[in-house]
Symmetry: D2
């Protein structure tokens, strides 16, 4: 009877992010996920990879069992 | 450093809901608010009024310090 | 990598509540569950039964995959 | 009518942690705060200081407007 959700403290893109504009991306994930908004959050490509950057989430949308976040990359970690 | 939010267990419209379609409404509230999705939730006009109906929230959106919910009224309490 | 939790808007006891004192009860549930504290919340014996009363949750504890709530019954619905 | 809370993605001790045992600490914070349990979380002395370590939160308790967490330090960053 409750509503299942997941508390997330990082963004794991799995390469599914879609670039909307320069450094703004949209990412859809399964399930209802709680992310911090407007707070720096680490970005990873996979949960086992090195951190690829830091983002600010600007929008979170919950609908039909999916979570869609819009985030701005504020720093990138080069892996050279 | 944390993200302030509010856990809500009912919808209080204060008459600010906008009808989108027959029994579907959109309501914007200040702050980031956590509402249960797809679970029956009581609707009130003000927090001190009698319950006016029951709704299912179909969409929750967080952006720029506002929460926008889209809900479907599934029952109405007549006050006659 | 996230933390699964469940948003709960009512208490479903399934008869597992333990009376600590007059109208104060302790209930343990599986998983991490988010309940509103200090806000009137409906109490049910099962999720399909009639509401049995209204409670105020005074304490929520998360540990080892369990949620333990302490609540005070503030009203009872007689079913006579 | 909602319940104010705060989503936290790191532990900021402000030196208020109490050592319970070797690497287990208890920290009390004002307000109801949502922390991820059993997931590595960064520890800071102040919100502007360098990260001092990484912890696993083992217990979260909400009561009387306070949040008490019990955490285990799993790594320390020496600042030498």
């Amino acid at each position: 009877m409750g509503m299942p959700m997941e508390l997330n403290t990082m963004i794991v893109t799995k390469g599914n992010e879609v670039r909307e504009e320069e450094n703004r991306f949209v990412l859809q994930k399964d399930g209802y996920r709680l992310y911090p908004i407007d707070i720096p959050i680490a970005v990873f490509k996979t949960k086992d990879s090195e951190q690829s950057g830091t983002a600010l989430i600007k929008k979170v949308e919950w609908q039909q069992g999916k979570t869609t976040i819009t985030y701005t990359l504020v720093s990138l970690k080069s892996t050279n």
